[in-house]
Symmetry: D2
Subunit: 360 residues, 4 copies
């Protein structure tokens, strides 16, 4: 497997859904950053399920414990290890379907690839692993904040309903993490409707990085789009990613898609942002704008045909349990975390954060 991500700011995650614990080691955070459990908790709480009717009623009051790398309230430059214990989970329902390949899930591919798997709750392929990313991202976000960079993600579209107003302050005021209060209500309604019919919905998340300096990104093969794209596409259920005007560019003319350069506050910038803050793989200083599509949750109550891989016979499956009808709703903090990790890494690689300079 490949469970590490990043070059100079680097995370390594581990753990299965129904194992003893999950966790992450963060390597490359410079010394001197004030860091406490509460910094990590704040982000974990944003991801936690059981917060509303539109998410799984499971209670995962994830608590991350910092086991290393922090001394007297500050990072020391050494690796920061965090562990989140798993609650005793009831694995019995997985026992029954352990030979049935849940459609849309990774059961089949893990079975083919590894020949042996922890089938309980998806094991390593479970979205539970993303809690470890969120914990790591909390550190990246704090490091970036020290350098004036903010990252915010929110739900842009669910089940065809689009947010038309972007008010950052609204995002965490509603259960669907939408920056548009009216759209949020419609989205909630759509989710509940799907849930009640044993079904699920997909959506689009938008991630914005504000105040990232011009000059981040390493062409030719670690362009900012490549690394951010790789990070976001690596999150469970993501099947597409776009930057700036994205797929709309297919329909534009060059005279419209090109963003004119202008001078503003004595600095060169662009008038519009079809380029999503990145040109030639390098940040321009404009907001970095990313969108990701999250497929509908694969675990649905509705009956589906599938195969029992032991018998090679067709069977019918109904994935019981307390599943999220719209995983997109829990996606924004995970996307923020991964984007933050990439940007922290690039800040280091571009020499804008000095790895060996004490943060004050």
């Amino acid at each position: 497997m490949s469970n590490s991500f990043g070059t100079l700011f680097r995370i390594t995650t581990w753990g299965e859904s129904h194992g003893k614990a999950i966790g992450v080691v963060v390597d490359g955070c410079p010394a001197g950053l004030e860091l406490g459990g509460e910094d990590v908790q704040r982000e974990l709480d944003k991801r936690a399920p059981g917060q509303s009717e539109v998410t799984s009623p499971r209670k995962e009051a994830d608590k991350a414990e910092i086991l290393s790398g922090v001394f007297e309230g500050k990072t020391t430059g050494t690796p920061i290890s965090m562990v989140i214990c798993n609650k005793d989970a009831d694995s019995s329902k997985y026992e029954k379907i352990k030979h049935l390949l849940r459609p849309g899930h990774a059961d089949f591919t893990y079975q083919v690839k590894y020949g042996f798997r922890d089938y309980r709750g998806g094991g390593r392929s479970s979205a539970r692993e993303t809690a470890a990313r969120v914990a790591a991202g909390a550190i990246a976000k704090k490091l970036l904040a020290k350098h004036g960079i903010t990252i915010i993600a929110y739900v842009r579209e669910i089940a065809g309903i689009k947010a038309t107003k972007i008010d950052f302050k609204e995002v965490y005021k509603n259960d669907v993490r939408c920056p548009d209060r009216n759209a949020a209500k419609k989205m909630e309604h759509a989710i509940l409707k799907a849930k009640n019919s044993g079904d699920s919905v997909g959506g689009i998340c938008e991630i914005i990085a504000l105040n990232a300096p011009a000059g981040l990104g390493k062409p030719i093969y670690n362009k900012l789009e490549s690394d951010l794209g790789s990070a976001i596409l690596g999150i469970n259920a993501v099947k597409g990613v776009e930057f700036g005007a994205g797929f709309e560019l297919a329909k534009m003319k060059g005279s419209r898609s090109n963003d004119e350069f202008i001078v503003k506050n004595n600095k060169i910038t662009t008038k519009t942002n079809n380029h999503g803050g990145i040109l030639g793989g390098i940040s321009t200083g404009m907001p970095i704008v990313i969108r990701a599509v999250v497929k509908p949750a694969s675990s649905i109550l509705k009956k589906q045909h599938t195969i029992n891989y032991k018998t090679m016979k067709q069977e019918t499956i109904s994935v019981e349990g307390r599943h999220d009808p719209a995983t997109i709703v829990r996606f924004p903090p995970i996307a923020e975390a991964m984007a933050a990790i990439v940007l922290a890494d690039h800040m280091l690689m571009a020499g804008k954060i000095n790895p060996d300079k004490l943060i004050k």
Copy 2:
């Protein structure tokens, strides 16, 4: 910079648009693969401009010379170095605009990042570098072909005109690399119309990998989507990438997006392919389906406002020269190359190609 890509099958490219040469070193190809200049030339010819009215009339009869790694017509397992000499290019037109930031180009970001750049023809940021990728991809494609895997890319959409029929045999019969003969004609027309008004158009390319075995991909952080996405997003002008049903998944229900497992020819597969051949970051054995959006060419004759970074004053620019009005048309062989490199790498990483076993 970061000019290497891949882990076990690894390429390193170099060279500027108006420098002496460009080239690539391919490391990790096993010994015994029959390889000659003609294998590389075939792919380079697919990328070459000057083939029709819809591309730049520049003649770049790229010839790659293999300088190492091949002995008696076969690879030896050692690095394969290829060089493509640049023709004497007229750099004078770039001299005039060397302080003007061409909108949509990387002039600004390279200037900010490196403080000094070879401004002639875009230097390292030029799409000319992609010829080196195509040369490397030719080797990857040949290696994959030995294992039954084929990769084909084509234009799916230009200026809002979509291919509705997919006939692989049509792709290289028309100038726009479209698998739908009728759509191709409309696309050509749209390109010429834009060209005549000094403008350019964008489009969407679809890349298909056939017969890739189930089991490729390394979760959690080198999922197939992450690595393919990173590779495709690293190609000039790409601003988005999607897999399978892609952004359409935002509007689907889970009961529809989930692909049912079935048994076919005694093998487990899926009935539909909304997952684009990848589940949990690992290939399922179904065709791998990728789409990328290519923005309209940035070099346009039409006047645009921009900034002179020496004077910090606004000026007007008209990018003269023989530019492509639709770079998307030359994109498919580059996309094929990058996808092939990723899949060759993953075939090695999954133990499906043995790095130390002589190919016969």
Copy 3:
């Protein structure tokens, strides 16, 4: 920092001497390997102090807990996380000398590099971290054993006293891990003599890998000597490494140092082993022979001059506490672990262990 090691078989360690815990994440072990806590414990016990008069009387009954990657007694191919809790350690004696730079230790360089450090017990620079390596090495050793490869390390020389007989069975029968019973007694005596005068001694460890197949190693830059050398030189207190005849080669003629090729049991091998099992950076199938020099323990009771980095004044230091007078004695299991990790990695990279094939 850089706390990961390896390419396909990869470890990431974390933790400080006097922190809550130390640990390691092992990534890349194929699925199906039987693995239990006792496999890891056996190796940890070999490294533990407090086993005799020639080591520190500290009791570190290290217990590693496996938190992930193992299901129903077998590895699943997912990352294996192990945690070793630190006993409550008395940090008060470090408090007194926290501004004094202990000669031979990393206090000065960590202070200079990071600007802030956990000074208790050496923090991250402590040899305590090597327990995590030993835990990871236990897995590598078990994986190698499945493929017939054995690794054994022992003390070859202490304080000028050399082992002249190599009897593997003797190694763990004496307290100094020496394969020569008579030499062992003299070594013990020398250590105790140094200890009683508040001093310490150095030595040489020899590491042998038996039955490694011909063909391991990746020239030009990951030759087996490079990777084994890097691994061994990365262990605390090591200041030199040599292979086969090593530094003696400086005095030899080519006609003597060249090992003649012969045929034995129908296989090509060499008559002698001055090359230490590696030619051109690739294993030949002969025993791989490595020697490492371990400097005398830096923590000594004897008074030494040093600098207080706060006051920049000279002071005298006597490093109190229960320190090892001869760290070399605890070195062999650590060296075995690191050598095993390198060889497991190269077995995977050479395609001799298939990463995706279930071990049976």
Copy 4:
């Protein structure tokens, strides 16, 4: 294979001894460094054979051509590609012995590993490849010189004869690259004596880095000893490496091997340098001192027994041709190059060279 070395300052070499050319791509040199062919030539000339009776009489007037990455006499931050054309070499003498495994050479291991090889002149395993490293090292050395760091390597011992005086100015005044004029004469004599009897000799090279700042090195796994050791052990014929007092430490007491800290010119440093400028894997600011043992040249005229791998029968071999009787003599510039590459990489990784800041 693995033909790339380094993380942020990274080289990729390619080419076979009797192929068309050899070369290197250097990635990661910041923009603005003045660089011309003469900078590279100077180093290549130090390595060239045919300079005296003690080296091969072959004439390899290597000329490196810079193909990219330099514009108007300065680096641009993009990859620097250099090519050295091979002279037409007579491969006929290798034709005769192509199935004979030359003792001490990599013929056997390359044959076993890759199953197919370019046997002419050793192909990729030839020391000819080191010319590419020297070319890359020239850039690293120039970059380090800009930051006040100098690297010098010289022959410390040949055939048991040791240099007892270290006068840097003498090194390139004699044919054996020895800093001790008297020892040099004896060494030359020993080499010629061996040569006349169809034999060869080995030796020890010492490499010193002056003015490297304190703080370089990335514990735990990229300690300076690990990375320098890996680099030096990767050079052909090296079988051991040591730092500071090296293997002598095995015989020392801690009270002697520990280097006392002192204050000098208001800076903390050490009184002695048994630690070779590195503590805890991090540079202390003292001279970095490395020694490497180079085995006697494997190609000797004297008859040796070996195996024909086609017939599996014993045969006798006498390696004819114009070979170096003491490859150690040509080793110092290669060692300087590799040490310089490691230190340049670590200067970047420690934030002491900013990758994105124009050098002035």
